[in-house]
Amino acid sequence: MATRASAALLALIPLLAFGQTRSQNSVNWILPVKDKALFFMPAKFVSEGEVREMFWSRDGKYLLVNRTSQAVTPEILEAQFKPSASGVSMPKLVGEILVWNSVTATTRSIKKYDAETTQVSARWLGNANSVTFTFTSQKARTVQLFSSTADGSVRELPPFLDSIESTISPLTNSAEALLTLRGVDGLETVRKFNVSLQFGPVLNRSTEQFKKFLASSNEVVVSPLVPTDEKGKPVSSVPTYRGINAATGQGRSLTEAEVNPPVEPEVPLKEPKDPTLVSSDMSFSLTGGATRIVLIKAEKESVLVSGDATMALANDQLTAVAFQTQGVILVRPIATVPLAMFESAKVEAEKSKLMTQAKELVKGFGYYAQDHHDTLPGPGGNWKSELQPYMLHAGLLEGFVLAFEGGVVSSVEKPGETVLGYVYGRNGRVAAYLDGSVRWIPNGK
């Protein structure tokens, strides 16, 4: 396949060989997977703080982050250790719900909260790019429900009173979620709601506990507390389940296998959907505390996402991977290009670069010969430093191997067939001839 080596591609060459050229820099950023090449772009900054929860939107374009941060400064910390440390208290733990937009690479604050008194849980509102979250105040025994569009216009309902616990379960097949609210009376209410915070009918209100939503059958699964005899001892050890159809409200009993089909054990890092990709974590320890590295592994090669991450999450589309490193949340966007295109472009770009280099080299040798009675030095001896002054720039002789044995150039019989030397690259070499012509020789020929 013939690929034009555009100026754009040539500019990318140092990046394509990033790992090779900059020994200090461990950014390894291209991963061949089957018939594709994944480009891991440099990290984008999302936010500072500790991640409580982090979710990609269904379309993989937005990242929802529920984070906390504490504005500790060295001055505040130092004051804690002074004997007269009166009046200097640690700053409040502040929570914030953020949405990061991968298209504009900007972070938008949706809502701030007091993380010391309020427990906050945030989710995507079903399959839409809207957000929903609850504030649970243990002291006031209230749960407040919010929704927000991704661009930050927040709606809220008055708090539910006498409520102590809530869970939000996004639905997979609509722009809705289930709200489960447990009151102080021990009763649990399950309802569907949407971004306008309009509720559907009560799907269940009982002492039963919400378990999950089954997308395949559109059913809310609840499980009764284990029935007990008059002394409070459980009478059965088999959990029972009831499924309530979210559309019709019809109930039926479900088996364990229907509710909990056997699944792989949960892993700390979410695995990308492509079966040939495994994200894995390894750790090493220098200082006693372990440091976790996050890799995305393909069959033959791996790409380091971060050398020091506490959590990482790729979106389903594998267009980005979000991670937290030392109290900072970052995203590395991922570009996917056809592998064949990438390979041939790489070879083409290198070839083009080496050919130019060889032509300039030959010119330099020509200038040298003019100054030295038509004579060139041979390999061995100090030919490099002798020729250096005749070269256009210092790096030109890098990777060049002198093949010509030395001597008077004009007495060579067939200068077009006599090799001056080779410039070696990763995918081949360029032969430069005494007449100034150059030829590309791919590896293996």
Partner: protein
């Protein structure tokens, strides 16, 4: 029972967050020296991009960063490798001179330039808060020099026609510097410069020597040159050996005096740092290049600054350490505290953490029991695997000894006095009871 449990779990998770926020600086990022201790705070984001030089201001309050990055987007990469719309222009490369304030935690862009056309170099203008920077054209090799005040007010300095070489010697005591430059109009000159431009006459020596160092007193610039010795002829009997000689030039008066090699050495002698900085390679995967970890080291302890850096630089005052990790530039502020108070607080924080962990594990066990007909796992088996799904983090169970033999917790006569398990710590242990409450019990009780 169920309601109580749920409520308790919310309360404890809030407590956990508060406790971990306090404990974090002690347990993860602190280092004790001989008479002081240092705590590394969470990193602050400075800028993204590649950076080859980080400069702290002499008072350690500001960081100067010269960053550049090829503005690669996933869309751009995909275009390059597509057949139809391959762009012919290389991606734009944006360079910025940025200062970061430790007080506000914010970055300010002083100047933007096209990094594909210019190479920039930036320095603090001596001890002040002004910055001097130069842009060298990749095409013409000509240099423009600019000065910026701390407020970002930039102006170009007029230093002669066609400047093509420049070397900086920041004053160690004043807000000025001495620069050596070569221009087509004036040849090689040595000039004092402050934020308003050149000051006084050019500095010269009769011998034609060139500046090599600013002396620490801040009054004199050391010049050096080579001259033939006056001693005996060299072994071939024809030439005399050459030797280096030094002269000190007063920056105010221009007066010259002979100087010595030891004055030169003294000018570059650094102070003994309070903490040693190590950069250690760590091989994390045979298929990846080793990562470089940055570590502070005292006589007995190590603390990790960051696990994956390409550049790291603490300030002299040890109030901050800047580093570049995977194309992102960060600063970790550092607090300095008295050793004794630190050690006390560290023990207290460790205790808080153990108590909090014990509480988490106890609640995990109780919730496990609630889901399993009030039965706890046997302490003979791998109970950790059963409890793990009920905990946020597996490490919470570190050191937890399950004393309860297993079986129903409803059969326990007095749950508030029956020990479920404990985590041993320094000077005592955190004991968790079957009702979920935890007490710190000192050794010997």
């Amino acid at each position: 029972m169920k309601n109580l449990l749920t409520r308790a779990s919310i309360v404890s998770s809030i407590a956990l967050v508060a406790a971990s926020a306090m404990a974090q600086p002690f347990t993860q990022s602190s280092i004790a020296g001989n008479d002081k201790a240092w705590m590394l705070l969470s990193p602050k984001f400075v800028a993204d991009g590649e950076c080859t030089d980080l400069g702290w201001s002499s008072d350690g309050r500001f960081l100067l960063v010269n960053r550049s990055r090829m503005e690669l987007t996933t869309k751009y990469i995909q275009q390059i490798f597509s057949k139809s719309s391959a762009p012919q222009e290389p991606p734009p490369s944006l360079g910025e001179i940025v200062t970061f304030s430790m007080e506000t935690g914010k970055s300010r862009v002083i100047y933007k330039y096209d990094a594909s056309l210019f190479r920039a170099e930036s320095k603090w203008l001596g001890t002040g808060s002004a910055v001097i920077f130069s842009l060298q054209s990749n095409l013409t090799s000509l240099i423009s020099v600019f000065v910026s005040t701390a407020d970002g007010d930039v102006k170009q300095l007029n230093l002669g026609e066609k400047v093509n070489l420049i070397q900086y010697f920041p004053s160690p005591t004043r807000a000025e510097m001495v620069i050596q430059l070569h221009s087509e109009s004036d040849g090689m000159t040595v000039q004092r410069v402050n934020s308003s431009g050149p000051v006084g006459r050019t500095l010269k020596t009769a011998s034609g020597s060139e500046p090599v160092a600013y002396l620490k007193n801040g009054n004199e610039i050391l010049f050096a040159g080579m001259r033939r010795t006056t001693g005996p002829l060299s072994s071939d009997g024809k030439t005399r050996e050459a030797e280096a000689f030094f002269e000190a030039v007063n920056v105010q008066t221009g007066a010259t005096r002979p100087a010595t090699k030891s004055e030169y050495d003294a000018a570059y002698d650094g102070e003994e740092p309070q903490l040693a900085l190590d950069e250690k390679p760590v091989q994390v995967d045979s298929k990846l290049k080793p990562l470089t970890s940055a570590i502070f080291r005292s006589a007995d302890e190590l603390v990790l600054i960051a696990a994956d850096v390409s550049l790291v630089k603490p300030n002299r005052q040890l109030t901050g350490v800047a580093y570049v990790s995977q194309g992102t530039i960060f600063v970790r502020p550092i607090a300095e505290v008295p050793l004794a108070a630190f050690l006390d607080a560290k023990d207290a924080a460790e205790r808080t953490k153990i108590i909090s962990n014990a509480k988490q594990v106890a609640l995990g066990l109780i919730i496990y029991a609630a889901d399993n007909d009030d039965n706890l796992p046997s302490n003979q088996g791998k109970w950790q695997d059963s409890i793990f799904p009920y905990l946020k983090d597996r490490n919470t169970m570190d050191g937890f000894v399950l004393a309860f033999k297993g079986g129903s917790i409803l059969k326990v006569e007095d749950p508030s006095k029956t020990i479920m398990g404990y985590i041993p710590g320094k000077g005592g242990r955190a004991v968790a009871y079957v009702d979920g409450h935890v007490r710190w019990i000192k050794d010997g009780n």
